[in-house]
Every structure is written in C-alpha cells, then in structure tokens.
Symmetry: C2
Subunit: 440 residues, 2 copies
C-alpha cells in the first residue's frame, strides 16, 4: 500500500482513557477506533493483523481435521433454557427482545448451539469423533470494559467443540488440540505457555489456559524456562497415532507451569534454579474437557454399535483472536512503539523515501514497492524524515527500508530491523534476498 | 475433504417451511441450519461458498483501491440520533439496551458509523477521495423472514462508502464501483444486470440495482440481451483515467435494462425484438450516490484548499453476500439439485468411488484425491452407487469423477460435467488436464 493514499491514520495525542501500552499504540497507529464502550471498529492496519492471526489459527485447526462452521451471533434464549444456563449466566449476557417479543441473546459462547447442530445431524456412533470450530464475533457485557481490545465487549474469538464416544477418545482429541495450540502460538510469534487450569466439578487434568508473558498481565505465573525453548513445529508427532500424541503430551506436561492460583511450591522447588521464571501473564486461550455436561442436560445422544444410547463426551477450545492483537503488543513493544512478530505484522516492511523530490530515490522506491505491493508499505508522504522514522517505529513494521539520495547514488539503501535496531547497507538489487535471509 | 469424516450431512426429507428451490437445496445439502426465525448457522459446505463469494468481492474492491475495515455489529443509538434516522428507521431495527441502560442497536447498515470514523481521521481535502468497505454481519428484524438466506434477519453483506470533494469526483468513484461490480458478478459466474433505481430526493441517475435473472425473483425485469454478452473482465478500462471510466459507463448504460417500476415502453420499443428479454429477478446489490445527506446532517466536513468548509459527497455500495448464495442457486439448479458455477462451488469436483472393496479403485481414488485434497471431495462412504450419484447431483459439484472397477481395469475413469450432463471416459493420468481444459 502507498501510505499517502491509504487509510492508515496515526494520532499524535495519546487518548486519556488508554492505560496500557497496547491500547495506546493501537489507538495512536489507527489500528482501531472505539465506537462505544468496549466496542471497536478495526481500521485497515488493525484488520490486517486480526486476519493474519485468524488465518494461522484456521490453518492449524484444519491441520487436525477440525471442520470450520459459522454460527450466527444472535441465539434463541430457548436454547440456553434447555441447558439451564439462561438464568445462571448473569448480567454479562446481552439479552435482546425482537419485534415479535421473542427472547434472543448475543452469543457469549456456543456450547448450546453447537450441541443442538450436532443433535440434528449426528445420530449414530459412526459420526464420532466430530470436531467443529468457528471464528466469529461474540459479546460479553463487561461491567467495566478496559485495556482496549483486551477486555472489550464485542470480541473476535475462535471457539471449537469436540464430540467423542468416550473419555479415552476425548483424551486423544484433547492431545491433538494441545498440539494445534502450541503450533498456532509459535507460528504467531509469541510465547504462550499452557498452564493447568481449574476443572471444577469435572475433575481430572484436562484443562489448560494459554498464557502470554507480559508485565501488565492479570495473573502471576511460574514456569520452567525449558518449556519456552521447545520447537513444536518440528516435533515429530503423528496426529493419527494416539500413542505418539500421548508421548508428546507427557513430554509437554513434564515442564512445570502454573498460575498463582494453582502454584505448587513443592513441585516448583524441583525446577533447576536457573530455569525458574516468574512473571505476569495474559490469558489468550483455553482448552477444556467437560464430559457429558451439555449432552446430558440437553439430552443429546447417539446410538452406539450395540444400539444403546450414548451421551457424547465434549470439550471446548477457545482462542481470543482480537484479544491476542493487544496481548502481542503488550509482550512486544518498546517506548517508541510496537514491535510486530513477522507472521502477523500488518506489513512486512515499510519503504521510507527520504528523497521525495529526487527522481532516482523515487525510482528505487517504486521498483522495490512493485516487487510486493501487497506486503510492503510505501511511505510516500510529503513529510520530514524524522516524522517518517517515528511513524515507522510506532507502527512496528519488522523491517524499515530507508531510501535516501546519498545511498541511492551508490546504489545502496539502509535496512533496519525494528526488533534489534540493527542496521545494514544493502545493494538495491539484494534487498529482497537480505530480508528473507535475515528473518528469524 | 473425505466425505466419510466430514461434517457434510445431507437430509433426505424436504423441510416443510422451504418454499423455494434454493432454500430446499441449502437445507437438504446441509449448507445451513436454521437456528431461529431468519437466523442461520453455516455448516462447512455453505461456509465454503460464502467465503469464496466474499473473497471475489474483496479482490475486486481492493482492485479499485477501496480499503477494507471492519466495523462492530453493535452501534450506539447516539450515532443514529445525530443523523435523525434512529426514530425514522422503524421496527426492522433491532434495538438493544445494555446493562448500564444505554441504547444500542444491531447495525442494519453503516452510513452513520463510517461517517463518524471518517470525521475523526480526515480533516483536510487532502484525505479525499476516501473509499472504505467492510464485509460484516448485519441484522434487520424482518416481520416475516422467508426464502432461507435470501430474506434472513442476520445476513452477511459487503457495504462500501465513498467520500469525495465534489460531485464530479463522486461520479468517477461511481463509475469505478460499477466496473468493480460487473467484474465481481461475472467472476462469481452469474449474470447480474445493473438497472437504474430510484434516487428519491437526491435525483440524477447515479443509483443502480444489480439483479440476477431467476423465476422466483421479486421484481419483473426488462433488458437488452446484448448486455449479458459483454465481457467486463476483458474490457480495456483504465481505472486511473476518468475519461476511460466515463466511456465504459456510457457504453454500459447504452443497453436497455429496467425493473417494472422504472420500465419505459418507448425506450423498450427501440430494442431489437430478438434482443428483448423479460423475466423476474432477485436484487443482489445496489450502488447509490447520495451526496451530502449524512455529512450535512451529522456536520462532518473537511477543510478545502481555500480553507473553506466542505461537506464531502458520499455514495454507498452494497452486495448481499449471504443472499447471493441463495440467488445463485435460484438461477442455477435443476430438479436434481444445485449446479454450482466453478468459481464459488464448495468443491471443484467430487471423486465417486464405486468400488469401495476394490483395492485398485481405492488406489486410483486416493491418488486423484491427494493431487488436491483441499478442492476435491472424496466420496469414500460405504453407500450404494445410486445414493452417491444422487448426492453428487444434489450438492452440485461442477465435476463428478466416477471411479469404478471396470474402468480402472482399463485405466480410465468417467468424468461428468454437472451443468451439461456430458460424460467422457478419461485416462486416469489425464483427469487433471481434462478438468482444466474443459472449464468454461
């Protein structure tokens, strides 16, 4: 995109209501605009990040053969009366009455709806296991929305649901999902550590929260640093082999990781001193096996091979896609602005033209830009160099390609890596190679 | 996808409430499921079509340099009070009260919201023209939702908005959008004819509805068949040259096309008899220049080059994405099922295995399937041939690749084109070439 003709407005003033870095930077870089309390419009730069995260989430769900569906945002209250949650949910559920005086609600989550869909289409054990997910807008009427998109009211979330014939099969599904989540966060470029979460009356150990390390996080966390060094993308796991999945899961859970709620001092003592990491974190996902809670309460069953009635075992699997945008910035910024991981940056690189009146500079910029106009942002504004540098740091593009008259005369440009601040002079015809060979 | 392990359920019984073909076929093929009156969940096959349409819409909007944003589904009532439409809109607007007793609404359209966003970020004539769009869920509380996704309450729509400095510049934008729309519908594979629509108090001729020919359509239409033969994808139009755009627009509007509301018998008489086409049609899009209606009522202005206050001229541009899914089926089906245009079919082809117990058949199917598992559907179910053929016709895949023991023994498969019923014996190793060389 060309910055001069794009809707990528930056604001000079920091809005007063923004208390944390991600909220400030998202407003200043025009990624989002608040339209009502806790309700945001996503402008082009923000939307690009949101979509890139959603695409990675989608690819990893598809890789474990989860099937994508899309449920409506509005739901009938009747569905929630069947499960008994309509009265129990409380004031965070946005309740709506339509013109025919029927009770609707804006879905905060979809266990009831997916169970109802499953009920119509799957009647036999042969239809199991079933693994469905969606990426859709949801609404929770938070009493005090804050921290921008991190605790908004209308939010974008991947929610997945599984149906299995029995506990053993549900465990296999849980292991697959754990792998998909670890791969997803690693591809996005953040360290999200799964931590054992409360399973309530269900019991067992099949509930994990995924937490990103960030000083503004709501939970205290304790974990073994060896965990963060694992490469889940290169781990040889066969998702069609339950023993391979179980071995992976056992290895994964062998590293200590707990929020302060579940922290166990005795286990923590066993972690070698140099690998103990404490800090604060932001929850960006959760996976949870909850058995037959909804299938029983809604009386949704299948017929087994022996013709007996079976209540499928369910799990649910969430990733806060819009929340992640804020959480990534919380965990990756400095005083000058955002530092985007390569995989989710709105643009791969910004081309900064310092010689707007110099034909040679313009030619070099234009030629570079045309090699990948979809992924390069070309700062072709009539602005001083200082303003262009400041905006580039603020917006956090992984690379800055700085094109000035002096360099161009020698056929070189300057390339700066945002994350490290490292600079290099690179011949014009080697810029693309330089970027791809110097990516992490 | 493998049909045996996919969530692609077909229903044998026709639901009683479905009066028209598209509604019946969408329910029978498990593309959607009704969750409340006029509110649908999209299952995998339906979602694939919805996304393919949205992607084509998006690419053609991006091609005219429209910028994608994403506005929230819920809006503050205050915004609509500013424009005066909050009271005027009537009972189709779904009005909501949140826990703090603030008035919200589920957006039926976004003129107010986009104007408010524009207001914050664009203050000078230098920011014009601005062209923004989104593809997002909307809600209209129809009194009698019917015809499935064609007249639902929660619906998916592309809505775009333009801001120009004056009328002349708004006309150029209008011409660009007309071109993008004609290209969009042609790529989707439907004949959508733009027809002059009512401009109300705005006047002029800058309002067109795009109408797909279908016997169940709500409007009577009259048009010159020469229109439908134009190839907009190969028309040499330079979108950066207003004269080129104007010439294209003049040519486009030289063909007679009108709904019964705007039908002009005298003009109709001038169309050669053999080119006169009459029928019924479904509206799937509208483009509309409405001047300073919202910028004046909401007092949103920019500063001109002479420092004077200017109210930008606006237009809005809609495409009913979820409605199109139904409309395409209305215009393209037979008694056996859907006939998908290639570009938006959920799958490019179905591989029908007639020899589930024959190792050679399984090997051929598997090898074909693996060449493109994302776009091929492999019918690997343990079903009779008749059921597989019927489902293939019902689901409307553009191609059927029929693999049976007798053919495989001679190293051939049968390829059937759904649209024409034409069949051919094709050597196994030439199937992919055959499909690509026999596409329209």
């Amino acid at each position: 995109m060309r910055l001069s003709s794009s809707f990528l407005p930056t604001l000079k003033e920091v809005p007063a209501e923004a208390q944390i870095a991600s909220h400030r930077f998202m407003l200043r870089t025009g990624m989002v605009r608040q339209m009502s309390s806790g309700i945001y419009a996503w402008l082009p730069a923000g939307l690009r990040v949101l979509n890139k995260i959603a695409d990675i989430v989608r690819e990893e769900q598809d890789a474990i053969n989860a099937q994508e569906v899309l449920m409506p945002t509005l739901q009938s209250a009747d569905l929630w009366k069947r499960s008994g949650r309509y009265d129990a949910y409380g004031p965070e559920m946005l309740r709506i009455v339509d013109r025919h005086k029927r009770d609707l609600l804006y879905g905060p989550t979809n266990e009831e709806m997916i169970t109802d869909i499953f009920d119509q289409f799957v009647t036999s054990y042969k239809g199991l296991p079933a693994l469905l997910y969606q990426i859709q807008w949801k609404f929770r009427d938070e009493i005090r929305p804050r921290f921008g998109v991190m605790r908004g009211r209308e939010f974008y979330m991947k929610d997945g649901y599984s149906f299995d014939l029995d506990y053993d099969s549900a465990v296999v599904t849980y292991h697959k999902m754990m792998l998909a989540y670890l791969r997803t966060f690693q591809r996005i470029g953040v360290k999200a550590i799964p931590m054992l979460a409360d399973t309530g009356p269900i019991g067992g150990d099949l509930s994990h929260e995924f937490i990103i390390l960030a000083p503004t996080g709501e939970s205290g966390i304790f974990f073994d640093s060896a965990f963060a060094e694992q490469n889940w993308l290169e781990m040889p796991v066969d998702i069609n082999d339950k023993d391979s999945l179980a071995a992976f899961f056992k290895r994964m859970t062998s590293f200590y990781a707990a929020t302060d709620e579940k922290h166990d001092e005795a286990e923590w003592e066993k972690v070698p001193q140099e690998r103990k990491l404490e800090g604060r974190g932001i929850e960006v996902g959760q996976i949870f096996y909850f058995g037959t809670k909804y299938t029983e309460s809604m009386d949704v069953s299948v017929t087994g091979s022996d013709s007996k009635k079976i209540y499928p075992h369910m799990g649910s699997y969430g990733i806060g896609v819009s929340r992640l945008v804020g959480a990534i910035i919380e965990s990756s910024h400095d005083e000058n602005g955002i530092i985007w991981p390569d995989a989710v940056a709105p643009f791969k690189a910004v081309i900064i033209n310092l010689g707007m009146k110099d034909q040679a500079c313009k030619d070099v910029c234009e030629a570079l830009y045309q090699t990948d106009p979809e992924n390069f942002l070309y700062d072709d504004r009539d602005e001083r160099a200082g303003a262009k540098f400041a905006d580039a740091d603020l917006m956090g593009h992984p690379w800055q390609i700085i094109v000035g008259p002096r360099g161009v005369a020698q056929n070189v440009v300057e390339v700066k890596r945002r994350k490290t601040g490292q600079r290099a002079e690179v011949p014009v015809d080697q810029v693309l190679d330089y970027l791809s060979s110097h990516q992490d």
